[in-house]
Amino acid sequence: MSYAPVELSIPAEHRYLNIIAACIGDLLAREEGLVEPAITTYNIQLAVQEISANIVDHAYGAASGRIAITMQVLCQPHRMVIQLLDTGVAFNPASVATPDLDEIHEGGYGLFLARSLLDDLSYNTRPDGNIWRLTKRLDV
């Protein structure tokens, strides 16, 4: 089934990012027909955590601002789509390479994790801000 979106807006600070995960968890807790629901939920939560932490650290940096999130379960195919809008600095995600996993690094795993755990990750700069769009299939 498809549902109307849930909208959330939080201050762009690390202390609020767990709220996004909580919303995703409770939204998916009442969704039927998920394959590996616990793993899928965790993976979506981690991908969103990485993207939103990057918004706080890199798009806003020392500046303050907000993150507007919309979350929606859609059908055909059965999937969850999450959009995150910020008004921080724009950047080019294509410039970020996959980390060399045979070496250990103190950072640089965020985008790699988000890309690995999602079915699609897109980024666009619009007049109203930068928008991340995360898509995760729920039925595969």
């Binding site: 690390h14 202390r15 767990n18 616990a38 793993i39 955590q49 932490a53 250990i104 795993y109 994790l113």
Partner: protein
């Protein structure tokens, strides 16, 4: 007959938490671990068994500790999280190849003294 007895004491810091380790809580964990390092600790067991969630900011704290511990001839052993999804992330990032991994604190302690 002269007999010398030398008591060799190996001290291992076992760090346990049941909280999320993420960009919010990671700085607190880093501070705590840095204080242990500053106090001379170089062997660590980080018990992740009850950790429900760990993000890349949390993982960065573990890497930072590993580097400091190895510089001081020490080691950091991780206890696998019970949360299967978190285990998969440690495998995906190949953290389980860089850190010695253990199934529980007891076997982590044995690994730490080898």
């Amino acid at each position: 007959m002269e007999i010398t007895v030398h008591n060799h004491i190996v001290q291992i810091a076992v760090v346990t938490t049941d909280s999320r380790i993420d960009a919010f809580s990671a700085p607190k964990l880093r501070e705590r671990l840095d204080a242990l390092v500053a106090g001379g600790a170089n062997r660590f067991v980080i018990d992740l068994s009850a950790v429900p969630f760990i993000d890349s900011a949390g993982m960065a704290v573990l890497v930072s500790l590993l580097k400091k511990a190895r510089v001081a001839d020490g080691e950091v052993v991780l206890v696998w999280p019970n949360e299967e999804a978190a285990r998969r992330i440690l495998r995906l990032t190949k953290f389980d190849r860089v850190f010695p991994m253990a199934d529980d604190v007891e076997s982590a302690l044995i690994a730490s003294t080898r």
